[in-house]
């Protein structure tokens, strides 16, 4: 009878194995195969792709850019999202629901549509904002946005913000309002209450939101593909290009696998760190 739970979860495990584990193993194997312009993919075991990924400075720069973007997006999302969640939490009944919908609504719209919105606003001379700013004489040349790192960071922050707001909001919901009152009664002003009482208590929420946002930003595809295009590549768009344009599947597989490994290492490492830091305090 002890095996019942395992038997019951077998279908789910099988499904997981078929749709996640198998393709993953095949991708890993693929990264060790050879490829040539004319001979195509050769199922042999060589380290050529991995050697290339680790030695060619092009890949180093691209991975560095990927994580630099992900880090900037995470910091921006935390700086904007945490206060946003706090203000939302202080709102009164009807407004709170309305603004929660406004903030989370974008999750219901395709990432592509949201990113294209940014492209319409800032895309070159014909971008609406650029046109408006130029017409009132504030700028001479259009603001560089498309194909820039700044552009990708801004658009990704917008796309991923709801995850941060949700994580912080959940942490704020758990706060006891009496704890803030206790601080006030002891003589703390509003800013001190925020900095010394509220912020430290929602820090685990901010950090878990940061981990989610970082992982999603580092592996994001649609937004860097539209804003960054082929001029500003990140790991996911590069892997895509190797697969569909260059047709060098093994090299693309090596890039994809390396991105996955780096991401898992960072996320697991950070979660451990956060857990250890707060185990004693929040248990």
């Amino acid at each position: 009878m002890k095996s019942a739970p395992y038997l019951l979860s077998l279908p789910a495990l099988l499904l997981f194995a078929v749709i996640v584990v198998v393709p993953l193993i095949m991708t890993v194997l693929l990264s060790f195969h050879d490829w040539g312009q004319y001979k195509g993919i050769e199922p042999v075991f060589i380290l050529k792709n991995w050697h290339e990924v680790f030695t060619d400075s092009y890949f180093l720069e691209m991975f560095w850019r990927t994580f630099r973007i992900a880090f900037s997006v995470t910091v921006l999302a935390a700086l904007l999202g945490a206060p946003e969640a706090y203000i939302l939490n202080r709102m009164k009944s009807p407004w709170r629901g309305i603004f929660l919908l406004v903030i989370l609504g974008p999750l219901l719209i395709s990432v592509v549509a949201r990113t294209l919105g940014w492209a319409l606003l800032f895309g070159g001379n014909s971008g609406l904002v650029n046109k408006a700013l130029a017409s009132i004489g504030l700028i001479d040349a259009p603001l560089p946005f498309m194909f820039t790192e700044t552009g990708v960071i801004v658009a990704l922050t917008h796309v991923l913000m709801p995850y941060m707001v949700l994580a912080v909001w959940a942490a704020l919901q758990r706060l006891d309002p009496q704890v803030e009152n206790a601080a006030v009664a002891l003589g703390a002003g509003p800013f001190t209450v925020l900095r010394r009482i509220v912020l430290p208590q929602v820090m685990p929420g901010i950090l878990s939101g940061a981990i989610i946002v970082f992982a999603l930003a580092a592996s994001a595809f649609a937004t860097p593909a539209i804003i960054g295009g082929r001029r500003l590549k990140v790991a996911s768009t590069l892997a895509y290009d190797e697969f569909l344009n260059t047709l060098n599947w093994p090299l693309g597989a090596a890039v994809a696998v390396l991105l996955l490994i780096a991401l898992v290492a960072i996320v697991v490492g950070l979660s451990r760190l956060v857990e250890r830091r707060y185990a004693q305090v929040f248990g």
């Binding site: 009496q178 704890v179 009152n181 206790a182 006030v184 009664a185 004693q280």
Partner: protein, 307 residues
């Protein structure tokens, strides 16, 4: 003029009158309890004194000055919340020291006073712990220490003992009373436990539906209740021979009101009887002195003094 004066203090939530014209004077060093059933406005009254709820009418004066004009952060009151409301991310010492830090007390003096106060509540060994790592009773004492360390003009306690088990609650009652006596802080306690209120207070304010039904020393309120509500709220009562008589004032005698014992319950230090009489069911409490007591079904006579 009293130290703290509540004058016709009122609070309405929408159309609901939570506190209805409460007038009360509290002397310096006095221990006053607000006692009443759930929802009678005790917490609301306390929160108005603390400044977290704005009164709809009336005034509050501390040493003759209008307290309502003072911001909650400037009132200098010590508050122990029902949920303790400790800062979960700070150690016990940091919790206790927070108020001193806000007052701008320098570090050496702060450390000294934190130590003294933790000693007062018997928690010196726990200074480095986080609230999560402590029992309910210990957390309660941290909350008390945090409120006392700033040397508040008034200590406000909102059901501080209600989360504790019976034995610990009794211990904490004794401790609380001792600490209050030592420090001499004017204290207002909110509770719905009449035994706790009577054990601790110099005076009771028995509240019902937002009104003070009686204000006076516990003994007086118990012996001479001003209203039937006060009588029934402060312990059991019997209506016999047209008079209200407390169960412990009735004894078994050779003659008097005739009746038959319906139930008899042993409660350790006393016996609880239900006796059927011509005046209806009468509750009788007798001390357990070790003597033989009437059994169930036995015919008895009840007597009581002309109280």
């Amino acid at each position: 003029m009293a130290f703290l004066e509540l004058d016709k203090l009122s609070k309405t939530f929408g159309s609901h009158l939570a506190v209805d014209g409460l007038t009360l004077g509290v002397e310096k060093g006095e221990f006053v309890s607000l006692l009443g059933p759930s929802g009678c406005g005790k917490t609301t009254t306390l929160q108005m004194i603390a400044g977290f709820v704005e009164p709809s009418g009336g005034s509050i004066r501390l040493e003759g000055r209008d307290l309502l004009a003072v911001k909650p952060a400037r009132r200098g009151l010590g508050i122990v919340f029902q949920s303790y409301a400790l800062f979960p991310h700070m150690t016990v010492a940091e919790n206790v020291g927070f108020g001193l830090e806000m007052q701008g007390v320098a570090a050496p003096e702060r450390i000294k006073r934190i130590g003294e106060t933790l000693e007062l509540v018997g928690l010196s060994a726990f200074a480095g712990r986080y609230p999560r790592q402590m029992s309910g009773g210990q957390q309660q004492r941290v909350a008390l220490a945090r409120a006392l360390v700033i040397r508040p003009q008034i200590l406000l306690l909102d059901e501080p003992l209600s989360n504790l088990d019976a034995k610990l609650r009794e211990e904490m009652q004794i401790e609380l009373r001792q600490i209050q006596r030592t420090v001499g802080t004017t204290t207002i306690l909110v509770t719905h436990d009449q035994a706790e209120a009577m054990a601790l207070s110099d005076r009771l304010v028995v509240m019902n539906h937002g009104r003070a039904e009686q204000i006076g020393p516990p003994h007086e309120a118990y012996e001479r209740p001003a209203t039937p509500f006060v009588a029934s709220f402060l312990g059991r009562t019997n209506l016999v021979g047209g008079a209200t008589v407390r169960p412990e004032k009735i004894s078994f005698a050779a003659q008097g009101l005739a009746g038959k014992v319906r139930t008899r319950i042993f409660q350790g230090n006393h016996w609880l009887y239900q006796v059927e009489t011509t005046d209806g069911l009468v509750t009788v409490i007798r001390q357990n002195t070790g003597e033989a007591m009437p059994a169930e079904g036995e015919a008895v006579h009840l007597a009581w003094g002309a109280a």
